[in-house]
């Protein structure tokens, strides 16, 4: 500052300032004037534009920050999803295995039941057949006994007693048993 003033003083003494039209009152007036100019331009001209640019810069920075956050969240989400899918896969494999084992057990159980039922049906059929055979055999014996008695009666001319009829009948049955 001192050097500026010294330079100005030297210039004034040498008549340089006068030559170029530098006059102290006008110079001071222009300094005040320029301060006013700067103030007016800052306040009314470039202030609003700079504010707008600053706002935009902040918004861009915020946008970039949001983008980074979203990318981070997306990566986290992808990791979570991958983990969930892996877990679901494991669970699905376990369930399938359990179902397969359950189905196998059920199938075996049902087969056993079917076998048991079939055996039961066969046993019942056997019993029924046996009873039928026995009934038929009894019927045949009875008919044969009656036939033997009738034949004997006809051959003897009906002289056989009731006692003889019974004995003859029992003998015939005994022979075919």
């Amino acid at each position: 500052m001192m050097t500026v003033l010294a330079a100005a003083d030297t210039a004034a003494k040498s008549g340089l300032a006068e030559t170029f039209g530098l006059h102290t009152p006008f110079f001071i007036a222009q300094v005040v004037n320029f301060f006013l100019v700067i103030f007016v331009l800052k306040k009314f001209a470039f202030g609003p534009i700079q504010n707008m640019l600053e706002q935009r810069r902040l918004r861009i920075a915020e946008g970039e920050e949001k983008l980074k956050r979203i990318e981070r969240q997306l990566a986290e989400s992808e990791q979570t999803t991958a983990a969930a899918i892996a877990k679901a896969n494991e669970e699905a494999i376990r369930l399938i295995e359990e179902a397969r084992q359950g189905a196998q057990a059920f199938s075996e159980q049902k087969a056993q039941e079917a076998i048991a039922q079939a055996q039961h049906i066969l046993a019942k059929a056997d019993a029924a057949a046996q009873a039928e055979r026995e009934r038929l055999a009894a019927e045949i014996r009875r008919d044969f006994g009656r036939l033997v008695v009738a034949t004997a009666s006809q051959a003897t001319g009906g002289v056989l007693t009731e006692e003889q009829h019974k004995r003859l009948h029992d003998d015939a049955l005994a022979k075919i048993a």
Partner: protein
């Protein structure tokens, strides 16, 4: 068709004839001093406030309907301001430009507008004749040494203020006088007087810079206006515009370059004086 190699000699010849022709034609020259119109108000001061008014009007129009997606005037204004901001930011660094852009932005657009307004026909050429000579109604703002000196002085004051507040008073003085580099023992004792002398030279350099800023801008603008005016006196009045026309394009370039040079030099001076402190911190 005039071949290019002949254009410059012809232009030089015409220029050398200009003062003689002007005198013969009774033409007037732009006075060296700004003329008072009343009190401390000079004709250059009126131009300055016209320029400020135009800048403010433009900025108000550009920012009337501000939107986050700019268009029209807002787009242009933001492009201009942001381009300068980025340019200065690359030079001074993000921290410094954020702090001082209000001054550098204002100075650049102000000088540019004032320079271009000085080229409007009638500025510096329309006025009245009196006993003191010709007095133009309006005068290019930067064709007045008082204005350019005021700008340079304002910058100088802010320059010291920013340098001291950025680095501290001690670092500011150290930047001027302290030995640069690492010296010890006898070397340090020998270097101290040398750097004290260098500091004195640096002080003179600092003192000269605002003076150089003032005279560079004033000289270029005043010289340009004088050139245009003289060229117009070379030919008959009806064709007066013709020789000046190519130089108008040059003056458009000069107006821009001088605004840029003033702003750029101020930015470099500030960066240089603040840089030293950053190294220390």
């Amino acid at each position: 068709m005039i071949r290019r190699p002949f254009i410059l000699p012809i232009a030089a010849c015409l220029a050398s004839l200009a003062p003689m022709h002007a005198q013969a034609a009774g033409g007037h020259a732009l006075p060296l001093n700004a003329q008072p119109l009343g009190g401390f108000v000079t004709n250059s001061m009126v131009m300055i406030w016209i320029a400020v008014g135009l800048i403010v009007l433009f900025c108000r129009a550009a920012t009337r309907r501000m939107s986050l997606v700019p268009e029209g005037l807002q787009n242009f204004a933001e492009w201009a301001v942001e381009s300068l901001y980025d340019f200065l930011g690359g030079l001074m660094g993000e921290h410094l430009v954020k702090r001082v852009f209000w001054f550098f932005g204002s100075v650049f657009f102000f000088i540019l507008t004032v320079n271009y307004l000085a080229l409007v026909p009638g500025v510096g050429t329309m006025g009245w004749e009196s006993a003191k000579g010709f007095t133009p109604w309006l005068r290019g703002g930067n064709a007045d040494i008082n204005m350019t000196a005021a700008m340079a002085l304002t910058f100088a004051l802010l320059w010291f203020y920013w340098a001291i507040t950025e680095n501290g008073f001690k670092a500011f003085i150290a930047h001027i006088f302290a030995p640069k580099g690492s010296f010890h023992g006898i070397m340090l004792a020998m270097m101290v007087p040398i750097f004290l002398f260098v500091g004195v030279l640096e002080l003179i350099s600092i003192g000269i810079r605002p003076v150089a800023l003032s005279f560079r801008l004033f000289g270029n603008i005043y010289g340009g206006e004088q050139t245009l005016e003289k060229l117009m006196t070379l030919v008959p009045e009806k064709l007066a515009f013709l020789p000046a026309l190519p130089f108008y394009f040059m003056e458009l370039l000069v107006g821009f370059v001088q605004a840029l040079v003033f702003t750029l030099l101020c930015a470099i001076f500030l960066k240089l004086i603040c840089d030293h402190g950053e190294e220390h911190h």
